[in-house]
Structures are given as C-alpha cells and as structure tokens.
C-alpha cells in the first residue's frame, strides 16, 4: 500500500475465481479520496438509473442488462496503478462515458415498446449502428440518436468479458459460420434472440468497418424493418475513402440519409446546430492532435486506454453533438499540460515506446494499462485513435452548407477502424511505419483479431516491413468478443513470451505476469 507510482504489486489484488478484486487500491490520502468520491458518483448514477420502474423492468427483460452491475469494476480496471493527473484524466473520461451510456439506456427503455413504451418519445428517436459515425445526426437537435447495439453488445463486453458469448452461440445455432467477426455476429445474435429494445421513427445503418458488419446489418434490418415496422436507411460509405472520385457518391449518401430522417420524423435539418457541432468536432480534433504531439515526446500524457476509449466515444458516437464532451476535452488538456510541464510519468519505468495497431480486444480493453504496469511498454497511440485530423467547415455560409455534406461524408468514411481497415494498404500498412517514426517508437504491438479479414490479410506484409525497418513487432492474437477462443491470459502470454525470449527482459511488476482473471469482470 503506497502513495508512490509503481510501489504496489498490482497482481496481488486479483483473486482466483472471483469477479471482483480483493480490495480497492491505496493511492495516498488525496488520490484515494478522489478515487472513492468518483466511485460514489458512479454508484449514484447507477442508483438514479434503477430508481425508474421501466429500467428495472428492462433489467429483467434484457439478458445483457445484468452486465451493467460491473460498471464500477470496469473503471477500477482502467485506473490500476494510476495517480495524480493520470487518475483524474481517466475518471474525467470514464465517468462521462458512463453517464452518457446511462442516458442512452434510459432513453432506449423510455421509448421501448416492451418497457417504457413512450410512443411520442419513440417518434423522435432515430436508431443508428453501434459502429457508425453520427455525423449525419449533427443537425437534428430535436431528435434522439440512439444505438441499441452500443449497450447490448459493445459496452457489455467492456464490462463483462463473457457478455457476448450467449449471443454468439445463438447466431451460430441459427446457422452463422463461426469464422466471422464476433462483433457483428453478436449483434446479429441479439437480433435473432429478439433481445433489443424496439423503438424509433426510423433507423440508419451503415457499412461500417468490414464485410461482416455490413452483412450483419441485414439480419438486424430484417427484424427491425420487416417485423417491427421501423423503416431503415442503409448509408453506404465508400471503401476507398482516400480517392477523390468517391467523394461525390459519399456526399450524396449523406444528403439521402438526411432526407430520409426528415421524411420519417417530420423534423427539418438545422444548419445552425450543425455548425455548432462542427465547432466541437474541430475542437476535439485540435485537442487530440495536441495530445498526440505530447505523445511524440518523452512525456506522453493522454495515452493508452485513456486515449483509446475516449476517442472512440467522442469522435464517433458523440461527433460534436454533446457539449459535455467539449468540457471534458478542456479538462483533459488542462491536466495533460499540467503533467507535461512537470515532466510527469504514469508508471515508474518506461522501457519501450509502442504503437498499438490493429483492432483491440474488447474483452481485454485494459490490456494497455497492463502493458505499462507489467512491462513498461508505453502505448503511445493506437490505430483506432489515429482518425481524421481534417478541420471541417464551421461557419454557416452558403458555400459551407454545401461543403458540410462532404465533411459529414468524410467523417463517416473515416469512422474509427474503417479508416484503416478500408481504403487500401497504404492507410493500414504504410502509415503505420510513418507513425512509428513520428512517435519515435521502437515497438509495434499488433492486435491480430483473428476474424478481421482486412487486418489478417496484411499479416505477412506487416512482418516483412517490420523486419526491413528493424522494429520489434509483437503479435497479439485475440477474438475480439470471445475470450473462450483466446483468454485474457492467452493475450498476456503472447507479450510475456516475447519480452522474455526475444527481449530477454524481466517484468517491472512480476505479479501481473499471470493473473487469475478468467472469471473476472
């Protein structure tokens, strides 16, 4: 028990067979009190949520809702070993994300025909994909843009590593091949199981990250459109998104999507609100760029899961539509600048500077914290955080209104993950090596999500290039949503083996090398 960074053996907090850790971490009086106050805030958020009868009803109706009991544990996993500014940054982000997800759930159940059944509210709801940029909703402040897949599958797996297994089994029992990506497969499983809230005036699906995602939407729309009577618009974002000759197509898809929403909700597009959101998008881009600039130095500040999870939420799901995230951006930048000025570090020893590439494991999202604490590998940035850096038009002028369609299209095309998995090998392969130079990285940790065809299809070329450039490339295989295929320890062992056999190093915290977290949330 110590105030100093790295003084604790963090592996000792784990208990075999238990879902939670043995006890909370002692971080010194100030940090422990801060951490505890944030824990209380989370409990209050959860408490407020369950006070509503419709939400209790939903907890009994929807199998995946049980995972939300694990919310405090998820935050604890991400704050392991953190002190000072780093602890605060993590809480600023995670607490806001929790609040946002709680609102999302509350709204979903308010309109859900099976629980809240508020039909007037439901008429103002537009459903979107989990993995979809919500740029196309930036000019509809009167409407609620809700994703059913975010709480049912995406967040559920972040909370409980085993959350998606049931839905994967359902999809496979229905006849889906077991070799497709488990994310869309689990989402399809939820739909086949009829375990998603039913609401909304209409829905917008998007060919998001991959072929599986595109095709999985067909399973969802079959139930949504043909059985539940919710009209669905499929927004086709071009795959070769860096090419000039696809941008008009992409912009027209946005125009069509907006017209579809207007038609089915009776609500008109609001340009004033759109440009307000555009300003926030640009501000988030500016902040992210500043953080990445810091990460190029010897004193990275917003990195690892602090960067990854927040970027995913803020860039994609929020997309300038929620003012609270702009406040969070400011707070994060303030904390980061403060720590940077004081030349602070998040762990007691930084041994390697790594770029994290590929699609990260959802059932082991706190792996980046583990990398830092166990082996001193600093995850400077990750593939999903290397998204668009383009500033979009933010002044309301006639020219910019036309430009806005192209900007929304650009953001949609450059959604997280798809901006790398689609668009040809240059965005996935070549740019990785540019980033290793820019960030002065000596190591690439390459998540190999085994069912991700776009990633595994470049396996050999990644190895060839790493060999040419003399960069340590460490493969970390996983199956995204399914820890039965490769467990968390299986993930860790790949790093452990590389560090011991190739790098000939000993861990900074040996207690973290093998953890009994098979059952852990």
């Amino acid at each position: 028990m110590a105030k100093e960074i790295g003084a604790d053996r963090l592996g000792d907090f784990y208990k075999a067979g238990s879902r939670v850790r043995k006890r909370r971490e002692w971080r010194g009086v100030k940090d422990t009190m801060y951490d505890y106050s944030r824990w209380l805030k989370i409990m209050m958020t959860l408490g407020k949520f369950v006070m509503k009868p419709r939400n209790v009803k939903a907890m009994l109706r929807y199998r995946w809702m049980a995972n939300y009991l694990a919310v405090p544990m998820m935050v604890d996993r991400h704050t392991q070993g953190l002190r000072g500014e780093y602890l605060r940054m993590c809480h600023v982000e995670q607490d806001l994300i929790i609040d946002d997800v709680a609102k999302l759930l509350d709204n979903l159940f308010r309109g859900d025909r099976r629980t809240g059944n508020d039909t007037e509210f439901s008429k103002k709801v537009v459903l979107v994909d989990e993995n979809e940029m919500t740029a196309v909703m930036m000019g509809f402040p009167q409407l609620k843009c809700l994703s059913r897949e975010t709480p049912s599958t995406y967040v559920s797996v972040l909370l409980n590593q085993h959350a998606a297994e049931h839905y994967l089994d359902v999809a496979q029992e229905f006849g889906l091949a077991g070799d497709v990506c488990p994310m869309p497969a689990a989402e399809a499983g939820v739909s086949i199981d009829d375990d998603a809230p039913v609401l909304g005036a209409c829905a917008i699906q998007c060919n998001t990250t991959c072929d599986g995602s595109l095709l999985g939407n067909g399973v969802i729309s079959k139930r949504l459109e043909l059985e539940d009577g919710v009209p669905v618009f499929q927004l086709a974002a071009p795959l070769r998104h860096r090419e000039d000759d696809v941008q008009e197509y992409a912009a027209q898809e946005i125009r069509n999507a907006i017209a579809f929403v207007e038609k089915h909700t009776g609500v008109q597009w609001d340009w004033k609100e759109y440009f307000e959101c555009a300003k926030r998008v640009n501000y988030a881009t500016k902040c992210r760029q500043e953080w990445l600039d810091m990460n190029r130095t010897d004193y990275p500040q917003v990195f690892g899961s602090n960067l990854a999870l927040y970027t995913e939420t803020n860039y994609m799901a929020i997309c300038g539509r929620v003012a609270d995230f702009e406040k969070a951006d400011r707070k994060l930048s303030k904390l980061a600048n403060q720590a940077f000025a004081a030349k602070k570090r998040a762990a007691k020893e930084y041994r390697h500077r790594a770029i994290i590439w590929g699609v990260q494991s959802h059932y082991y999202m706190d792996f980046l914290v583990w990398l830092l604490n166990c082996w001193g590998i600093v995850p400077l940035t990750d593939m999903l955080s290397m998204v668009s850096t383009k500033m979009i038009a933010e002044e309301d002028t006639p020219e910019n209104r036309e430009q806005a369609y192209y900007d929304m299209a650009w953001l949609t095309e450059n959604m997280i993950m798809r901006n790398r998995t689609h668009g040809g090998y240059r965005v996935l392969l070549d740019e990785l090596w540019d980033f290793t130079q820019q960030f002065n990285a000596d190591m690439v940790i390459l998540w190999e999500h085994m069912s991700c065809k776009a990633l595994t299809g470049m396996h050999g070329m990644f190895e060839d290039r790493a060999r040419e450039l003399g960069i340590h490339l460490v493969w970390v295989g996983h199956d995204l949503f399914d820890p039965r295929i490769i467990s968390r320890q299986g993930v860790r062992d790949q790093i452990n083996n590389y560090m011991r056999t190739v790098m000939r190093e000993e861990p900074i915290d040996p207690s973290l090398e093998v953890l009994p977290d098979e059952e852990s949330w």
Binding site: A171, F174, G175, L176, A177, D179, V180, C181, A188, Q205, N207, C210, D211, G212, L214, L215, G216, N217, G218, V219, S221, K222, E225, V232, Q234, A236, P238, L239, R240, E243, D245, V246, E248, Y249, Q252, E253, N256, T421, H422, G424, Y425, L429, E448, M450, S451, K453, A454, T456, G457, M458, H459, G460, M461
Partner: protein, 413 residues
C-alpha cells in the same frame, strides 16, 4: 449410388459432347491455350477477380478478359503466411498461384473492393510484385463499386468504370474506349450469353439432355478463356444438344439449385451430381445466373451507363446492402427454383467468406420457411476434391427430399 454400382457420372448414358474435353482442358490451367492464342493474335489480357467488374468493358476490341482461377491448387503455404489461414481459400489460392508466377500472362489486373479478402489478395500480389514480369505497361487498378442499387450507385459505377477500367486501358494500351467500341464488345458478350442461356435451357424438364456438371464446365470456360475464341465451339455444342438423346430414365433422385459464393472448382458440381442431385440451376459467382444474362442496349443512352445499370440491378452479390436488394436475392433464388422445377436448394459458402456466411444463414432460413423449399447449407474449401464429408451431406439431403416427397412434403410436416 445407382443400382448399377457405378457413380452417377459413370453410369450416364448421354453421348459425350464433341467439344467437352476441349472445354475441360481449358479449365486445367489458368494460362490456357486460348489465352495464349489470343495474346499471339495481339490482344491484351485483362485479368479480374470479381463478378462486379463489368465484363464487356474488359473485352473491348484488342482486349479480352480472364477471370483468375487457380486450378489444381495444392499447397497454399506461402499465401497462408501472407494472408493467414483466416482468409478464404480462393484468395489464398490466387495469391499462391501469383507468387508461383502463374499469372504472368496477364497484362493488367482490375479489381473492385468487392470483399476485403479479394482486395487484400490483389494488394499482396501488388506488394510482392508477383504480376507483370517483363511487362512495362502492366497496371493494377482498384475500383469502388456501389453497395446499393440506386441512381447514386449508378453514378458511382459509371465514374469508377471510366477512371479505373476504360481510361487505364486507353492510356496504357491505346484501346478504343468509344461508345461504338463498347457496343461492339457488348454484342460479342451477348452472343456468348445467348449461347450459354440456350445451352442451359436443356437442363429443364424431367429428362434433361445436359448434366449440371457439363453445363458448369462450359459456362466456366466462358469466364476463363477469351470469349471470341469460344463462340464456334459453343454454337456447335448447342446444335449437338438439340439432337442429343436424353436418358430413358434419369438416375438423379432430386433436382437442386446451387446458390452461393464463387465456385470455379469443377469437382464441386460433379460431387453434388455424383451424390444423386441434378444441378438444374446455378446461382453463384462463375455461374450463369445472372452472370450470363445478355445486356440489352438501346440507342437513347450511352452504352457504359446502360451496362453499369444492368450490372447493378441484376447483381446478386450479398454486398448489396439495401433492403430491396436483400429481399430480391432470396426471391431470385425462389424463382429460379420454381422455373427449373427444383426439389431443393443447396446454399454453399466458401469457408471464411463473410458475405456469404450471412447470406447463407438468412437465405437458407427464408427459402425454407417462407418459400417452402428443402435447403441444405454447407461451407466448403476452395478445392473440394472427393470430400467424403460433403458427399455424405448431399446424399443425406437427397434422401431427406425423397422422404419429404413420400410423406407429402412440408404440408405433412
């Protein structure tokens, strides 16, 4: 097995088609003799890998298309290193063959991002510099294709074909890409389609005069070899079929439509037929539906737009994501089954194929539950060879169809 103890193929009594061995021979090598002949005649070979690439545009005067295959595939070790074992065997087989130098005959390759795996396959070919040896003008082109069938998709299709097919062919090889040249290519394409359609008609009725296997081989040859060199053989085959005597009694126990991802392995259809199921219609990539639908042109609009529209509207590729298209895909299969009097449907999917994994799952349920057809859903490797497992599954399916017939069909449970 038939009562004679032989396989269904062996006990067939249909007289051999005069050019059948010729067609079969063409499929034994990717670099077949007609490709060599066409190149000796000064034509350039445009290689492609996906049915969403409009074929007539690859067959402009002075060029011919060859859809890449990897017949007699053995080890795929090197390709598996580059692509891993999680990508479909079609993409790995093509890359392996390319690494072996098997496609050096091609003068360019044009591929849409139809699926991630095919995209990665061709990208690896490019990065590994496997094609275009000693060919200065060789080029790779990747194109975007629409995912929905609508006006916006059509505009994209036309632009992409201009930028990634016509212009590069013109710039690199000086091909005439005028409307007139395109119409000429369509006329040649249509002649082949009409012949294949006419030959396919002999699959109808209780006593068909062509086997599904024979038809598959002939159709496949039209994808893998220069079309203009096949026309005379196809015409002769058609005439031959008109007088070919059918078997007095068919040994097949059921008629099936085969639906699914690409099949360029002639052994698969052979295996299905050897197991007692006559393949009366083929709805898969490299099949004739809709790949051999003639393209009807009018004089009111440019040929390119009309070609793209027809490719987009008729396309049955599961990557088309709008609801109307999804529904029409299953309806298309049901209509084929009805038209060709099929007793059942086989949905097949190459292992690791994402698009067809989903389409097979939904299609098999919908065709069974909404349209009342017995459905067999299988996944398979690229080269099926003589898979006992697959044979057992097809045989069991045929038996189940027979039992249903005896029991009076779905109405009686």
């Amino acid at each position: 097995m038939p009562v004679c103890g032989l396989t269904y193929r062996e006990c067939e009594k249909l007289k051999d088609l005069k050019h059948f061995i010729f067609f079969e021979d063409l499929l034994m090598e990717a670099h077949n003799k007609l490709i060599k002949q066409a190149q000796e005649e000064g034509r350039i070979c445009v290689a492609y890998t996906c049915e969403n690439t409009p074929e007539p545009l690859l067959n402009l005067p002075g060029a011919f298309s060859a859809r890449l295959r990897a017949p007699r595939t053995g080890s795929m070790d090197i390709a598996t290193y580059y692509l891993t074992s999680f990508l479909c065997e079609y993409s790995r087989a093509l890359l392996e063959r390319a690494i072996e130098g098997g496609y050096n005959f091609a003068d360019c390759i044009i591929t849409p991002d139809g699926c991630s795996m095919m995209n990665r396959c061709v990208e690896n070919m490019e990065l590994l510099k496997t094609l275009g040896k000693d060919k200065e003008k060789f080029f790779y082109e990747y194109m975007e294709i629409p995912m929905k069938s609508d006006q916006n998709g059509l505009n994209l299709y036309v632009l992409q074909c201009k930028n990634h097919i016509l212009q590069p062919l013109h710039d690199n090889y000086g091909l005439d890409i005028s409307d007139e040249a395109i119409r000429k290519a369509v006329a040649e394409h249509n002649r082949v389609c009409e012949l294949i359609r006419a030959i396919g008609e002999f699959r109808r009725g209780p006593r068909p005069t062509i086997t599904g296997y024979e038809f598959h081989v002939i159709t496949l040859a039209t994808y893998a070899a220069p079309k203009y060199l096949l026309i005379d053989k196809l015409e002769e085959t058609l005439e031959e079929l008109k007088v070919r005597e059918p078997d007095e009694q068919s040994d097949y126990r059921a008629r099936v439509v085969v639906v699914g991802s690409e099949i360029d392995d002639i052994d698969f259809i052979k295996l299905v037929e050897d197991s007692g199921a006559y393949v009366c219609a083929d709805r898969f990539c490299y099949g004739s539906f809709p790949g051999r639908d003639p393209i009807v042109l009018n004089d009111d609009e440019d040929a390119l737009t009309q070609i793209c529209r027809q490719y987009m509207q008729r396309g049955q590729c599961p990557r088309y994501m709008n609801t109307e298209k999804m529904l029409s895909r299953r309806q298309y299969v049901a209509e084929l089954a009805k038209e060709y009097e099929a007793d059942g449907i086989i949905y097949e999917q190459m292992k690791f194929c994402d698009p067809w994994a989903y389409e097979k799952m939904l299609g098999s349920h919908i065709l069974r539950n909404d349209y009342g057809y017995p459905v067999l859903a299988v996944d398979r490797p690229y080269s099926i060879g003589t898979s006992g497992q697959m044979r057992t599954r097809v045989q069991a399916f045929v038996e189940s169809i027979e039992i249903k017939k005896i029991q009076g069909g779905a109405a009686n449970g």
